[in-house]
Symmetry: C2
Subunit: 506 residues, 2 copies
Amino acid sequence: MPVFPFHASLCVGRSLSTAAGRFRLPPTIRQILTSPQVNENVAVTAWVKSIRKQKRIAFGVLSDGSSPVGLQAVFQQELAERVKEITNGTSVYVRGKLVKSPGSGQDNELHVEEIEILGACDPDTYPIQKQALTPEYLRDNTHLRARTDAIAAMVRLRALLTRGLDRYFEAQGFLYAHTPVLTSGDAEGGGEAFRVAPLPPPVEHVPFEDNVEREFFTHPAYLTVSHQLHLEALSSALTRVYTLSPCFRAERGVTRRHLAEFWMLEAEWGAAPTENPRSQTAALCDFLEGVIKGVVGDTAIIHGDDVNVLWRHREHDSVSEADRQKRRDTMVSAVTTDAPWPKMSYSDAVRELLKSNREWTYPVRWGNALQSEHEKWLCEELVGGPLFVTDYPAGIKPFYMRANPPIAGEDEETVGCFDLLMPHVGELAGGSVREERIDDLKASMQSKGMDMEGDRYGWYGDLRRFGGAPHVGFGMGFERLVGWVGGIDNVRECIPMPRWAGRMLL
Amino acid sequence: MPVFPFHASLCVGRSLSTAAGRFRLPPTIRQILTSPQVNENVAVTAWVKSIRKQKRIAFGVLSDGSSPVGLQAVFQQELAERVKEITNGTSVYVRGKLVKSPGSGQDNELHVEEIEILGACDPDTYPIQKQALTPEYLRDNTHLRARTDAIAAMVRLRALLTRGLDRYFEAQGFLYAHTPVLTSGDAEGGGEAFRVAPLPPPVEHVPFEDNVEREFFTHPAYLTVSHQLHLEALSSALTRVYTLSPCFRAERGVTRRHLAEFWMLEAEWGAAPTENPRSQTAALCDFLEGVIKGVVGDTAIIHGDDVNVLWRHREHDSVSEADRQKRRDTMVSAVTTDAPWPKMSYSDAVRELLKSNREWTYPVRWGNALQSEHEKWLCEELVGGPLFVTDYPAGIKPFYMRANPPIAGEDEETVGCFDLLMPHVGELAGGSVREERIDDLKASMQSKGMDMEGDRYGWYGDLRRFGGAPHVGFGMGFERLVGWVGGIDNVRECIPMPRWAGRMLL
């Protein structure tokens, strides 16, 4: 078996000191394709995505997952014996020279000089066959599905968005912070929080009479449904903080928009004081609009290979080609326009819904939550793009949102908050001005049956009691963002290994 | 109450289009200090860290947590009424002009023209008093402790390291990926995995007879103890992947090095084939050494303000000033030297331990795990710096590590792996060459009572069955890295909101 030691010459495009060379991995296919060193030696470990064997020559496409574009490889006659063993999915180590390609599909190609077969792939039993595979079939093969173009592109898009978000928030003076997954909060008894099981007996070194089921932390632990309250604690010291962290909801409903484990981008920051909290809600919406335009609107994302692959990959799609293109155009135009996204108060949204003369499954009435059908109509039909709905009734929103001052002629109580509605996604993000006034917070908690002085929320009161300051924040579902940008209908295809009610593979 | 609207002129150091200006937050204190626009108007929301009131003038230090260095603020006589209300911890919004400072402590200072008190802070009951507070006291006040210099510096150091790691891995062609927290794995029954509780009855819409406790996912769910196996699945498609994600261990032991919830950096990547797996272990160690040198060795980190604060902040330290300086020098020299960190096989380490003639609490014998006392001696006394110990006995390592070929004269079975030992930290990271040969993997699993063909691990076998390739990986405890870089003795001070056996606040 030939052995190919690590050669400095394989580090295409870099000249390295010996010390740095020790730490440098050889270039990926993406690096080879984006900084090609023509007539240089190249070695890669990759999977064969396709192989076309002709009489005296064979053409293969090699992928290492770093790029949606594969490396074109040409195998001459003298490698024919080895090439015979190659099928789709075979893992190979190849070495050769990068040369200008006479073909039209690529700039450069690899003239292979040596091949080593690392792992065979039985073409009869390999679960990832060439023909289009349904999303459901691929979910059953979660462990292998990142070998398909669409799932690989989705994973890369997640990485691009994560990095873009990090850089955007850095430029705005935010700190990335890790808040806990294990919390004391049970989402206010909503029944949607996963609970950590107490430890079973027997416990070593514990007397027999005490050896019963016991809480690891002495009190019940839950998996967080949102990092907001903990981020508020950090914001009360570090001002601008954000996190991209896993969240958990034990929702029994199975929809294309919900996962039991999902990632959420959450941010909290201090806001300049104002007499008009409504202007803070508007500034909060503006900031989030800037995040999405600044990150997604980057040409490397919006016109990048991965997003292209995702919008193209639609073998099992019920949407027509024309509708698909229209959806994509709407998305691209939303993140590239200078025009601000429209904002509409909840009260105005209710008026529009009532004016629409539609038959709604759920009645439209001031004080009711907006349902998916309402949100869908507002952003897809009324506005035709992203829409901020602001200032919801206090009665349907959580305790921590700041009460709005009354408006002349309207006597309903609202809070300074927004939901961001996106066509074909629904609610992408939500946020609010946080109630920083301790007496108002206490009253709001009391009205929801909570006790700001007690053990459970005393700490949250302290954040106001000692140097409290106006602050705002939002949460954005990361899988929904990925779905919106990539035109992916189901959030299960927006995360590498999805979990939902009744389903957890691996 | 005066109101200060958002002014474009407050965006120090940037000229902005109207659209971008809509999305831009005003500068943080860090931004003001690092790109000072002298004689410009500045407005900040901040907490008063200290205030010194003189007859006609007052001096305050303002902090918004963005920097360990505060903004020096000067209040003239005409603000005296307002200044009276200010105590440490008061939240204020101030506006004024940045001018050259005649004082020696800072380049510039803010001449305050207007103050608004946003939140008072009762000096008698404020838990964060000026005098040094013990780590234990601050843990009891987790929600407020990020207002202290050391905890704030630790949170910022975490953000710096996270960003540095991301950039380093990006340059090496890695993809950042999110693997699940909820898994089917119980850490091989080791009893250290938290289990998610089944859902309690009653469940709505379920017939009475079925309305019993039930698993949300139909089978038991655990909180992951390591993302490795799932990362291997992604690596089998995307080649180079890493994650920085929360991990969980229900360890009852309470030590300064263990948390129930901690963050781990884990990476997996395809390795070029070789006939000598020992050279792959060496290359794996080299890569990790490059990660740590490349990220921590960055001047902005190693000589940055936050690391300086952390090494300085030692009111409650049992270590002498001289020893502390020595520890820091060892750390700085480890990440700035071109010399490679030493590597030593487990067998050689055992020989050295036996030669030492020390009295060990745990017996040193080939085939036993190395205990903390042994690891401590090896890196702190024998080597005096980071040490890779490689090629441990197969019997004390997990099933997935690749068997080493025998060495002449030694008939013990070892696997291609390493632990990285750091002075005063112990094991910082561990990794291995993964067993990619399906028959060897099957045998290894059988020897540990596991079934590669079964439901539980069939997927892991598939990764080898279909185009398997040589690959390697490691995991590094993020809190331990933070502790090593910042000279923090206890991991509870290396994460914003620590959880350990018996303890979970917030």
